[in-house]
């Protein structure tokens, strides 16, 4: 990689994602913090048999979770409806409403998509560990539950824990507020969420930002994701 990581278009940014890739998709679940344009580009690009890793599997359409009234949600559902997803790893895969299933739940009930449910904090920590070179860690979360079944268990200080593995992906599609050309990122508010840990844990991290500012345009004290973690940045306001 060179130090200028800006890419002109969303299409170009995702062009080399192959069939079968594992892809982390940032955000918490709402309209903020999610790489919508990269997802739209990935639908157009058409890679299939993908594994997607995220907090949700696209929950906004049925309930409007985190979306302003009147706006049409765009999220993982567009990839699922396009038949590109083989497996989902998520903490919050389905709609909050039993009566209003999301695209994932319908596909899951039809047996088309595999699911791994991971507690939200364990998911975040597994991703952080994947980025930090920690192959595995013990956590009390999930011990003694169905999500702890099949995992090694061990007692520390009288408390049961389970062994969880660090998680990495081939690509991370993340959403930040601003970038400089070398990939220092800042976020806005609760948009940090899964974007920050995911940025560290993929072979190729692609950031969708509102704006790429000039070199030095981001205060060193304010950087949320240091440039070392970022491979490509693409701006919503670019001249495409």
């Amino acid at each position: 990689m060179s130090l200028d990581k800006s890419v002109a278009t969303f299409e170009e940014a995702v062009s080399d994602i192959p069939d079968g890739a594992s892809i982390m998709i940032g955000g918490f679940g709402g309209a903020g913090g999610m790489p919508h344009r990269l997802m739209v580009a990935l639908v157009a690009q058409g890679a299939r048999e993908l594994t997607i890793i995220g907090n949700t599997a696209g929950i906004a359409a049925p309930t409007g979770f985190g979306w302003p009234d009147g706006e049409t949600p765009i999220d993982h559902a567009i990839l699922i409806e396009n038949g590109q997803i083989a497996k989902v790893i998520a903490s919050f895969p389905v709609s909050g409403s039993v009566s209003r299933p999301n695209a994932f739940e319908l596909a899951f009930q039809r047996g088309e998509i595999e699911l791994e449910v991971v507690p939200q904090g364990t998911l975040a920590e597994r991703i952080r560990a994947g980025g930090a070179g920690i192959p595995a860690f013990y956590t009390p979360t999930g011990a003694g539950t169905d999500l702890g079944v099949g995992k090694e268990s061990r007692v520390f200080d009288g408390r049961e824990t389970v062994l969880e593995l660090g998680m990495r992906a081939d690509f991370a599609l993340i959403r930040a507020h601003k970038s400089d050309p070398i990939g220092n990122l800042i976020y806005s508010g609760t948009s940090r969420s899964f974007n920050m840990p995911m940025a560290t844990a993929a072979d190729v991290t692609i950031a969708e930002v509102d704006e790429i500012v000039e070199p030095g345009g981001i205060d060193a004290e304010r950087v949320d994701t240091p440039s070392i973690y970022v491979d490509r940045v693409v701006a919503r306001n670019s001249g495409e």
């Binding site: 985190g66 939200q120 904090g121 539950t145 169905d146 508010g189």
Partner: protein
């Protein structure tokens, strides 16, 4: 919901929240789940200042934004828009859960599908659906210093949500230390349940009639204490 043999009305969700809020101490860091727990913030006792934590990645957050004035980058764990307040801070999901798992949250209030006599909680998976959202529930249940279950006593079919053993998949074992329902308050520990308060017009035997778990009755059992 009410049942045919109820001796008196069941309490409103707001009253449950009001009772829970009595547990908050000045300076507590609090995480409120979706539903009844969210209502607790409306009933914080005078003189008690809390620091609200949300696993969406914001600390010391404030009330909901006014209708139509939401910022997509300022949401709570339920996807609702929050009003910006001074003293907030933002952080990523790994940090949000480091706070939870690392025992930095004093109290979490969670709704639940079931709670067992020894404080097991089951609130993430409804077997009839076959798929569920675990979200942050397991982390909160194991991580918070105090876990309060705030829920209706019986479900829509009248079944007791307090059981000798949970029948739904667990969220965490032995995590609940207080249950507040629309008719009763129980202390919980490994030895079992202790009924400490009842709704007006309810006697301990009325509670027993609609509860599928054994419980002790506190020697000084009283009516719901809201002040």
């Amino acid at each position: 919901m009410s049942m045919p043999n109820d001796p008196a009305p069941r309490l409103e969700r707001e009253i449950i929240a009001m009772r829970v809020a009595k547990e908050f101490q000045d300076g507590d860091v609090v995480n409120l789940g979706i539903g009844i727990p969210t209502l607790c913030s409306d009933f914080v006792p005078p003189g008690v200042q809390l620091m609200y934590h949300s696993e969406s990645g914001v600390l010391n957050c404030g009330p909901l934004a006014e209708e139509g004035k939401g910022d997509v980058d300022l949401i709570n764990a339920g996807g609702q828009f929050l009003k910006p307040v001074r003293g907030m801070s933002f952080f990523d999901s790994a940090e949000a859960f480091a706070m939870i798992r690392g025992r930095h949250i004093d109290i979490t209030v969670l709704g639940s599908l079931q709670v067992s006599a020894t404080g097991d909680m089951a609130n993430w998976f409804l077997p009839s659906r076959g798929v569920g959202n675990v979200g942050g529930a397991m982390d909160l249940a194991v991580g918070a210093k105090c876990v309060i279950a705030a829920m209706e006593h019986n479900d829509r079919t009248g079944a007791s949500k307090i059981l000798q053993e949970c029948t739904y998949p667990l969220t965490s074992q032995g995590c609940v230390s207080l249950i507040v329902t629309d008719i009763a308050v129980f202390n919980v520990d490994k030895r079992g349940l202790e009924l400490v308060e009842v709704a007006p017009g309810w006697l301990p035997e009325n509670i027993s009639d609609v509860t599928d778990a054994e419980f002790e009755i506190a020697s000084d059992v009283k009516e719901f204490e809201l002040l």
